[in-house]
Structures are given as structure tokens and as C-alpha cells.
């Protein structure tokens, strides 16, 4: 490139200038315009984050100013990116290198939810939306939800002494907007006994599902300050990290006006039943809690120590005090347990980690570390839960996690290196509180243990060829299974050691109960192979193959049974000549989940993904650079469902009906990108970029077979399944030094 530029603009370059051009910081400004085809719905997937969804034309403006005073080593850097878009960011830094510096950044991100909501709701995205039934689905107002983050960072550092550095930063992020949310309830319900939510005549039901966007207006603040000591053998860092979450909104209070739909899509009471009852309406209008303010303070020491040139230790100790004490009354909740004005939430977490690495022989490397994490939940326990006359309390969520690993690596002949390792992890979730209620959980464990082994064979021959083949296997098991309680009157948790052989519903679990996979026994195997091969100076090839399998086991056969993962990937890079380079890759992954359920279905879920790309970069002539990429993604979620012998007659009828009751979800994206940069002079060029993106998303979340999902007020959520977008930009860049 430099030679090419010299050939074209050589007369203008004196030697010193040429060297300075190549070795001194430079600045640039890029300005131009861009246009995007279609409308907002045509580019809702493409424009989810990039700021190119709302409008058809944009100002493209970037700049980068970098200046260094060579006498003092003082840098002045100011950069702006995407300044004409809603994803704009600007950062600056100033200071003499090796002495001190200050920096700042302003960063914006707008995430636009790709789907469009059609509704008659008023005040969507506020804390007081008014919900009413839309007479005809699709005839309401379109609402596009978005969340906007505006982040400001300031920080600095100062070398107090040559080996003592102080660093500090402050981050403030405001987040505003609304996101998809909702509520639903059915009457009658054990959670709302009569007279709150009575059964209708003849035991008929009444329920409603409502879309209620969550309003967001919050601020997150983070302070990080640390003092770094950097000695010849010891590096020691002492620091403080504080973080605060402050939500402007405490509750969401929807109002439901008039009648709502019954399951037929007709007003409740048509042709049978009654109009929306006051009991269900009142429940639908109950305040919904929004995320409470919370804060955490952490103090830590961190560092490493070199015993010798070949033996090093690393260590960290951190103590975190996290609290959540938002006032219930101020939030609008007036029926908290007597005497309780706030949760008084408190989590104290201690982390200790130490590791050592050593090379006792030139060919032998050893490594070991141990890590202990104790999250102590000191939140007061109180009677928050009531169902009629049955009461429960909240429960602690703390845990203690101890993990460690040891590894040995030895240099073998022919550039091979062999590694063997052992991993251990114990998770202690503490004693299950006898008054806590856990929804829909069949069994619990207080402790799980996992032990694993790793073997790896690696070969490295410079950049000519490298490769590694690794195998990881582990086994997780745990303490006795415990049964969740049925309220304070239920007494202590039974832990019958004979349950495993009992196998009846009289035992602590049901034969069709699901045991949470995070507690289940698990056998894990992973194999990974990666090689990078450069057969000629022009060609580089890379092959990756990965396989993983998790087998779960619990007292029943329901729930998660196994997961699988496969990857095959091939990359190639070819230098056609000094001016042109080609790249290409293809990756295929398949992730699978096997699980069962009490209904009798056996799900064999598969996420099959093919991703491929080709690219070209080159210099057509001394003034013209060209490039292009084509990327292709096909992602298919397959919900293969089988039947087990325990299924009910009605479910067998469905499963045997041959109907595609859980269709595949398919995402396809083909993206073409081409650009050309033409040098007008040695420090100025123009760039034309064209991107054409073709996506298709076929899935059933919000509608199926052309029929939209209807909320009880006839609100619908839709996405244009096929979206074709063309983006064209033309920019001018000027550089100076």
C-alpha cells in the first residue's frame, strides 16, 4: 500500500515526510450520506441496533483526531463514530503517556424491538396504561417499542511513583423506553380463593392475557477506583467498585376498561358465560412491581507474585455488600407483612482465589488454583405469601461455591505438548428453609459436586501448522433429594433415603415430576479439535471440530434428559497476489435438547445452523481499493416430538394426529456487502458502500398459519417475515497529520 501510494503521489513526498506520514499519529474526518430502502417494518431486523431503522436517509459523520507532542509524549485523542445515527459515540483522552491521563466517553444505543404492536391501549409505555378491547384486531394504533441507553464515562489515571498507579472511573448510564411485558390470570385459582376470584356457574372459567409494556426510566452508576503497586516480583492492586441502580418507576398500574375477549375471540359472555367479572378485573388492575433500586459496594485486593522466573502465584480477595431496601409504601404497596417497611435485602459475598503456576523442568509446566465464593443472604425472613389460610415466607438465595483445578503440561517430541488436568466444583446452596415455597419444583438438593478430567494434545510448528485435540469429561452428582414444602403448616422437609427405590407417588416425588436440571446428576463429555495449516505462503486453512454431550439423570425420567452439541468449521484464506486476498468459511452447528414432560411428550429439539461467508479484498490500481463480503445464515429450530407410554388419551390423540402442532422456526439471512475506496489525493478518498440484506424469519411465537395471536383485548404483535433492505452510503474522508 505504502509503495503504491508512493508510486502515485511520490513527487509530493519528501523522505522525512514519508516517514512521518507512516509513523506519526494522524487524524481524519469522514462525512457523507446514506440511504436505506423500504420502510421501518422492512428493516426491523436489520435495524434492531444499528440506528438505521427509523429514517430513510442519514448523515454519515465520523472523525478521529490524534495528536502527540513528541517532546513530552502528551496525547490528545478525540474520536466520534456514527455521529449522524442514534448509535452515536464520542470519546476523548488527554495526557502525557506514562505519567497521567484523563478520558471520557459518551455512548448511545437504541434497541428497537423488531416487532410491531397493534393495540387500542392508551399510555403504552407509561406506568398507567389504559387497556380496552379493540373491536377488530389489527385496526388499532401501531406501537414500536424501544429502549435507549445513554452512557457517560469519565476516568483517569496517575503514576504517583514509577511503580504506583492510581486509576479511577465513573460510569453513568440512563436507560429509557419500554419493553414487551404482560400479565395474565385465570379464575378460579387457588392463589386467589373465593371471594377474590370465584368460579363461575357450572365451574366455567374466565381468564385474560394482556400485553402491558414495562416502562423503563432508570439510571445505573458505577465507580471503580484502584491503586496498583507494580514491583519487581509483586503486583498488588487494592480497589473499590461501587454500583447503584436507581429506577424512577416503582409500580405499573394498568386500568382495564370495559369487557375483554373470551377464548373464542368474542366479548366475554358471548355466546355463554358472563362479561368480565369484577374479581378478575380487580386482579388485572393490581399494581405490578417494577425492578427496585439496589446497590452494591465491593472492596478487593488482587495481584500476583513471582517467586522465581518460573514460579508465579495469583490471588484475589473481594468482599461485596449488596443491599435492596426500597420502601414498600413509597412504591405504592400497602399490604406488606405487618411491621415490614422494606425487604431489608442484604447479600454479603466473599470471594477468595489463589493460584500457582510453575515450570520445575524446562519441558514441564504445572498449574493449580482454588476458588471459594460465599454469598451469604442476610435478608430477613417474613410471611409474604398467602393462599387462603396457608402462608409461606420468602427464602434465602445464598450459596457457597468451591472450585479448583490442577493441570500438568509436558513438551513431547516432534513439537507435541500434552496436558492433563483435573477440575472440581462443589455448590452448596445451604439448608432449604422449611417455610419457603418453591413453585412447581419436584425436588431440591442442598449440594452438588462435580469432578472432571481434561486431556489435550497440542502441536505448534511456528505459523506453518498448529493444532490441538482435547477431551473433557466430568461427572456431577449431589446430596439427597429433598421435597419442597406445602406451607408453614407442612412442617419440616422430608428426606426419605428410600425414595430412590420407592418410586411411587407416595414418595417425595411424583413419577411424572420434573427435577430441576441444575441439581440433577450430569455426565459431560466434550471433544475439541482445532488445526491451522499453512501449506503455502499464500494459503491458510483452518479446521475445527467440536462435540459435546450432557446426560442428565434424576429419580424420574421427566425433565431434561440430555443435550448435545456438534460443530464443524472450515476457514480458508488465499492471497491471490500482492494486491488481492480471498477468504471463506463454512460452519455447521447443531445443538440438541432431549426432554420429557408429564403430558407424555418427548421433545427432541434441534437447532441446526449453517453459517458461511466469502470475502475479497484488493487493490485494483494504485488509487482504487475494492472489497466485498457475502454472508449466509440458515438457522432451523426443529421441535421433533415423540410420545411416551404415560401420555393421556387426549394427548395421544394429538400426538398421533399427524398435525404439526409445534412447527419448525426458521431464520435465514443473506447479506451482500461491497465497497470501493478511491484515492482522490494522498490524504483524501471517497468510499462507496452497498449492503443488501435479505432476511426471513418463519416462526410461530406471535401467530401461526396466517392467524395472529390475540391478546384478550385483541392486541396483536407482528413481524414482517421477509425483509429485504438495501443500504447505500457515499462518504468522503480527509486525513491530516
Amino acid at each position: 500500500m505504502a509503495l503504491a501510494m508512493l508510486a502515485v503521489f511520490g513527487p509530493a513526498w519528501a523522505d522525512d515526510d514519508a516517514v512521518a506520514e507512516l509513523s506519526k499519529p494522524s487524524s481524519s474526518v469522514t462525512v457523507g450520506g446514506a440511504a436505506v430502502s423500504g420502510d421501518s417494518k422492512d428493516r426491523s431486523i436489520f435495524g434492531q441496533y444499528n440506528g438505521l431503522r427509523p429514517d430513510d436517509a442519514y448523515l454519515m459523520l465520523d472523525f478521529a483526531y490524534a495528536h502527540r507532542d513528541d517532546a513530552t509524549g502528551t496525547w490528545t485523542v478525540v474520536e466520534g463514530r456514527n455521529l449522524g445515527l442514534e448509535s452515536r459515540e464520542i470519546r476523548a483522552m488527554y495526557g502525557p503517556q506514562g505519567n497521567w491521563k484523563i478520558y471520557g466517553e459518551y455512548w448511545e444505543l437504541v434497541r428497537r424491538y423488531p416487532r410491531t404492536i397493534n393495540t387500542s391501549m392508551e399510555g403504552a409505555g407509561t406506568t398507567t396504561p389504559i387497556i380496552s378491547r379493540l373491536d377488530v384486531p389489527g385496526t388499532g394504533s401501531d406501537i414500536d417499542l424501544k429502549t435507549e441507553r445513554k452512557r457517560t464515562t469519565v476516568g483517569g489515571e496517575k503514576y504517583i511513583m514509577p511503580n504506583l498507579l492510581f486509576q479511577a472511573s465513573f460510569v453513568n448510564e440512563d436507560k429509557d423506553g419500554a419493553r414487551l411485558w404482560g400479565r395474565g390470570f385465570t379464575c378460579p385459582s387457588t392463589a386467589a380463593p373465593t371471594p377474590v376470584c370465584p368460579a363461575l356457574a357450572s365451574g366455567a372459567n374466565q381468564y385474560a392475557l394482556l400485553l402491558v409494556p414495562e416502562p423503563i426510566s432508570s439510571t445505573t452508576r458505577q465507580i471503580d477506583a484502584k491503586l496498583n503497586y507494580m514491583g519487581a516480583k509483586l503486583t498488588l492492586i487494592g480497589g473499590y467498585y461501587g454500583s447503584w441502580y436507581d429506577n424512577d418507576y416503582s409500580t405499573l398500574n394498568p386500568t382495564v376498561v370495559g369487557n375483554l375477549n373470551n377464548p373464542l375471540g368474542l366479548p366475554m359472555g358471548t355466546p355463554t358465560g358472563v362479561a368480565l367479572t369484577s374479581g378478575l378485573r380487580n386482579i388485572l388492575q393490581l399494581p405490578m412491581a417494577l425492578p427496585p433500586d439496589n446497590q452494591a459496594q465491593q472492596f478487593y485486593i488482587d495481584g500476583n507474585y513471582a517467586f522465581t522466573n518460573t514460579t508465579h502465584a495469583t490471588f484475589k480477595y473481594a468482599y461485596t455488600h449488596a443491599t435492596q431496601n426500597e420502601s414498600f409504601a413509597a412504591a405504592g404497596f400497602t399490604d406488606a407483612p405487618p411491621g415490614r417497611s422494606d425487604l431489608g435485602g442484604r447479600l454479603d459475598t466473599t470471594l477468595a482465589q489463589a493460584g500457582i503456576t510453575s515450570r520445575p523442568l524446562p519441558k514441564l509446566s504445572l498449574m493449580a488454583n482454588v476458588r471459594y465464593e460465599d454469598e451469604d443472604d442476610k435478608t430477613p425472613i417474613d410471611l409474604y405469601n398467602t393462599e387462603g389460610t396457608t402462608t409461606w415466607t420468602n427464602g434465602p438465595i445464598g450459596h457457597k461455591k468451591t472450585s479448583g483445578k490442577a493441570e500438568a503440561s509436558y513438551q513431547l517430541p516432534w513439537d507435541f505438548r500434552g496436558t492433563a488436568g483435573f477440575d472440581y466444583e462443589k455448590m452448596d446452596r445451604g439448608e432449604v428453609l422449611s417455610t419457603d415455597q418453591l413453585g412447581g419444583i419436584t425436588g431440591l438438593r442442598e449440594n452438588t459436586y462435580e469432578r472432571g478430567w481434561r486431556l489435550e494434545l497440542r502441536r505448534s510448528m511456528g505459523d506453518y501448522a498448529t493444532g490441538s485435540l482435547s477431551w473433557v469429561t466430568s461427572q456431577r452428582n449431589g446430596s439427597s433429594w429433598l421435597k419442597p414444602l406445602s406451607g408453614t403448616s407442612g412442617g419440616a422437609i422430608p428426606a426419605d433415603p428410600d425414595c430412590a427405590s420407592n418410586g411411587s407417588n407416595a414418595c417425595i416425588w411424583s413419577r411424572t415430576g420434573i427435577f430441576p436440571f441444575i441439581y440433577e446428576d450430569r455426565k459431560r463429555d466434550k471433544i475439541r479439535y482445532l488445526t491451522d495449516f499453512t501449506p503455502t505462503e499464500k494459503l491458510d486453512l483452518q479446521l475445527a471440530v467440536e462435540y459435546g454431550n450432557d446426560d442428565y439423570s434424576a429419580p424420574t425420567e421427566k425433565g431434561l434428559d440430555s443435550t448435545r452439541y456438534n460443530l464443524y468449521s472450515l476457514d480458508a484464506s488465499y492471497a491471490v497476489n500482492e494486491s488481492w486476498n480471498l477468504t471463506g468459511y463454512y460452519s455447521y452447528t447443531q445443538q440438541g435438547i432431549n426432554q420429557g414432560h408429564s403430558t407424555g411428550y418427548i421433545l427432541n429439539f434441534k437447532d441446526k445452523n449453517s453459517t458461511a461467508g466469502v470475502g475479497i479484498r484488493g487493490q485494483a490500481n494504485p488509487r482504487l481499493k475494492l472489497g466485498g463480503d457475502i454472508m449466509y445464515i440458515l438457522d432451523r429450530n426443529v421441535y421433533d416430538t415423540g410420545l411416551d407410554s404415560g401420555a393421556s388419551a387426549s394427548n395421544i390423540a394429538l400426538l398421533n394426529s399427524g398435525q404439526n402442532y409445534v412447527p419448525d422456526a426458521i431464520f435465514r439471512d443473506v447479506r451482500f456487502k461491497f465497497y470501493g475506496t478511491y484515492a482522490l489525493q494522498k490524504n483524501a478518498d471517497v468510499k462507496l458502500e452497498v449492503v443488501h440484506d435479505r432476511t426471513r424469519l418463519d416462526e410461530w411465537t406471535w401467530g401461526w398459519n396466517g392467524v395472529p395471536w390475540l391478546y384478550s383485548d385483541n392486541t396483536t404483535v407482528t413481524l414482517q417475515p421477509e425483509q429485504n433492505v438495501t443500504f447505500v452510503s457515499l462518504v468522503y474522508t480527509y486525513r491530516w497529520r
Partner: protein, 349 residues
Amino acid sequence: MKRSNRLLQALAAAAGLALFLAAGPAPAAGVLAAGPAPAADAADAPQAHKDLVLRGDAKCTRCHDEDDDYPVLAIGKTAHGTTADARTPTCTSCHGPSAGHLAGPDASGQRPPPDFVFRGVHKSGADAINGQCLTCHKSDAARTHWMGSTHEERGVACTNCHQIHTGHDAVRDKLTQPTVCFTCHKEQRTMINKPSHHPIPEGKMGCSDCHNPHGSTGPSLMKKDTINDVCYTCHMEKRGPFVHNHEPVGENCALCHNPHGTTAENMLKARPPFLCQECHTPHGAYVAQVIGQGQTGTIAGQPPSITATSAGKAPINFMMARGCTNCHTEVHGTNNPSTANPTPQFNFR
């Protein structure tokens, strides 16, 4: 997968494995680097040569300047080239004194490589390369836990990711950083362009917003001590603690989410109700289904029939839209303390 694809993949894997296991020793120096030694005579040129960029670089830059094979001058645009900072290196600080290289061709007629070479056929081992970089960078706070980290143990060299002789080190720019990481992390490359993803392909986030590739005390080289601590830096509203907690939330966000991208909304590993039914049993009367939504009456082979007063826990209601979260709204936990029925412990709101 089609049979032809499987065959191709199997062949490719076999070929690669055979190459890896059967290839002989590394080629002798110069086998691949055909051609004469670079500008050998220039080292013996009598004329004086001044430093171009770094202190004392003349003995190197008299041969190596900005030729296309080894362009070196751009290091002057970087922190390494800030010569007013006494800590900055000269060429031999990183490449070693390289007396043999400076002396010119040896008896074989080839010029020996420098003591430390960072790419190409003469590339030094990862430990040697990293040792040169760590001479200065070992005490940086971000690299405190490099020793014993996954990348260090797996032989990743600094220069596998970083480029030194350039004004734009791709891995330090979040726009281009993922491409560098995908050199090894292929699975993540397939995920980030799925419809539900973090803004990585859009250049608003980089891998290093969550990971510290230089080592950490967290799992998967997370920047902070736990996965959740990293997630909370942007999603602090999920931190709680709440009156009603959802236990796995405080344990590990990645139990339910795949932060690199999914087809399911909200980066969920699987769609509700299937994800939820990996732990929870209830609503087990009917198979979750899509067919029948928006239709009335009994549908052939499909229980139950939909009437004006059907139950709310119908299989379609916990399958479509937000799935289980149609009713169980705030699965990350709620701070609603209400003791009035219905209390919010199950519905999380």
C-alpha cells in the same frame, strides 16, 4: 444434516486429524521462506543511518522500513512509539539483540532470524513471545491473572491476537475485535448474527465488554468475578435481591440465556415452555402446541376444545406469545410484598 454434508465434514475432519498427527517435524528454517535473505548487503553499507521511529532503531530500519512484507514504521503511531515515555521499547527490546541476524548470512547463505520472531515460519514459541511482552506488561492490572489463564495454558501468544506494527490493532477496536476472536471461537461466530443477539455485529459491543482474554478470576475469562456480575453492569435491574426471587437467576444468567445469540427471543436457550419445563412440572394436562390458536370449537385430534369459558392454562396460552411469562411475568424476581390474594410469589409481578 444432508448426507453429503456429513460426508464432507467427516472427510475434512479425517484429513485434518491425519495432518495434525502425521505431519513430521517443523520444516527447517527457510524451507518455506524461499528467496534471498532480505537486503543482506545493506547491513554492511558504510553510510550512517539515523533512527526513524524508535530510539536506536537505525540498525534495524536501515533494512526494514515500510516494505510490504514487514512494514514496521507504523509502530510510531502507537503507544510503543511514544519515545518521550522512557518505558517504551526499541526494536531489540522485543526482538532480542539478534546478533546473528545483524551479522548477516551464515555459512548456509541464509541470514539467521532475529532472536524473537512473532509470525511466519520462524515464529518463536508462545512462551517466548509472551515472555517478551510480559517483560513490560506483566504488571498491568488487566493482566494480573494471565499466568494460569485458559489462553496462557493453551499456548495463545499475544501476537495471535495483537498486531504491534500498526496504527490500528484490530483486536482493540470493538468493530473489528470479534473477527479476531472468531479465529478460534467458531461457535460464537455462528451465534452473533441470529435474530436475538447483543449488538456485537453492529459494532456497539465487543467481546472484551464481557471477557478479559488476559485472564480473570471469573469463569470463561469473564471480566468480573462471576457471569452475573458482568451481566449486572448493564442489566442491574435483575440483581435484586427481591421479595420473591427466582433462584437460578442469582446463580447464573447463562442457565437460561445464551448471550452470544439465539433464534428464540431474549437470547433464551430454548423457547418457553420447553425451557421452563427443564425445571418445572405444572400445567401438565396438555401438550404445548401451536395449532388451534385463533380457532374455535374442537379441532380434530387436538385437546382440549376451545369454548367461551375454557381454562386459561390452555396449552396454547403457555406456548405462544411470551409463553409461560404470559402469566409468570417477571421471572427475574419481583419486589411486590403484597400479602393479599393473589400474592405474587408464583406469578412474579
